[in-house]
Assembly symmetry: none
């Protein structure tokens, strides 16, 4: 699915942003980059530095003169926009975009383009109107202009989440793997009995005036859902404490 | 809510990443930045250029020597991590983190820290073990290292979405009432120091052969999110234990 999502940058001015875009894409598993009429040399030292190992995406990028050429084979074109301008357009959130992707890309020939405009002026109205929908990344209204690579990062992240969700729901009743066995109810009750006994031995607890002490310690401990091994450690501590208490009483 | 989320950068090497972080934060409505032992001059021409108008956040940032100082007043500390290492720790997704924030920040005194490590090596195990949970941004396993500012961008974006969701869902009257104040990071660290001291005193723990004992106890305790009052009880138990140990030694 991810290999059929294209990132399209129009009229980019800073090679560093092309490098940062490549890194963000590769991090999220995207690979298809198209540059439309870049206003800078796409591949400079700055590009390579910001790409941090992902500059192969820039080498492989196709550079074209117009948005039409960049998205000609795409079945869905979504433009990143601060806000729909003159003419209201279907607006979707990045999350809704992600949720739409598995269906949009269900057919093997389908292809989605995410289109990003110039650093200084975004997409023109003509370009926005070539999009099926506009996606708006929510921002602070007092400081709304995202860095280009950061905007790509957010949308690429939503693409990856959508893909991971699909993987998860498709297969794998996920087997959360590294989980240690939790303590059983029995083991917990033995622990609480041991704890109370120790607290009495060290003179901290008087069952005649309990003041909810054991209840509080229970609530705290149960909230942590202790693993069996953790309970063993705690019981080891109680035993060591009791030995000290006995030595104290003998002394 | 957003004003009580702190971004903590540890040992940053590149001023440009500090600038990029400030821009990402300001775009998403975050303002509280802490720099722990930066390995570069934080405020350079590069910072200002990448901040693109958000450099006020760097001017206002507090710079401290240790993670402890940066998060001492925080009630939830979450570390950005590629993967839990030696000892598995509670892992959450960026989305789950966002979903947790409104509740975590319901009490006016609560404060959340999101902690990011060095560009080259991330967070140390010791730093990761000071966190309640780790957050992992899903990435391409073949190219998993995100740019620092890009990682901040993704988590800050999830913070903003969570905040917008809460606004939309009618301002959240949920003041969940019976909530006791949670222990702060400082209080927890004093407790862990006290615990370790006591375990040594009763002969249960030898710092020379730690065998992850303190790490396991930290993980267990942090998972329970102790209230201040619970921590007071636990410290009371430690003090009583130490008195016994002293009596034992005298005897």
């Amino acid at each position: 699915m991810l290999e059929r999502i294209r990132i399209v940058l129009i009229g980019t001015s800073h090679p560093g942003n092309i490098g940062g875009t490549a890194r963000a894409m590769h991090n999220m598993g995207l690979a298809d980059l198209a540059l439309v009429a870049p206003r800078c040399e796409p591949l400079t030292a700055d590009t390579v530095s910001r790409a941090s190992g992902a500059d192969a995406l820039v080498h492989q990028a196709c550079t074209v003169a117009s948005l039409e050429e960049a998205v000609s084979d795409c079945t869905l074109v979504v433009g990143a926009s601060a806000r729909s301008r003159t003419l209201p357009w279907p607006m979707i959130t990045p999350r809704a975009l992600g949720e739409r992707l598995p269906e949009e890309l269900a057919a093997p020939a389908s292809r989605v383009a995410l289109v990003f405009g110039r650093e200084d002026s975004g997409l023109t109205n003509a370009e926005l109107q070539r999009c099926h929908a506009h996606v708006h990344i929510p921002t602070n209204p007092d400081f709304s202009s995202l860095n280009l690579a950061a905007a790509v990062q957010v949308l690429a992240y939503e693409c990856r989440l959508a893909w991971l969700d699909r993987q998860a729901s498709g297969e794998a009743t996920d087997d959360d793997g590294d989980g240690q066995p939790l303590a059983s109810h029995d083991e917990l009750e033995h622990y609480f009995a041991h704890l109370e006994h120790t607290l009495v031995a060290i003179g901290f607890h008087d069952p005649a005036t309990p003041r909810q002490l054991m209840a509080r310690l229970r609530r705290f401990t149960l909230r942590a859902r202790p693993e069996r091994m953790e309970l063993n450690i705690l019981r080891g501590i109680l035993s060591a404490t009791e030995r000290q208490a006995e030595r104290g009483d003998d002394g």
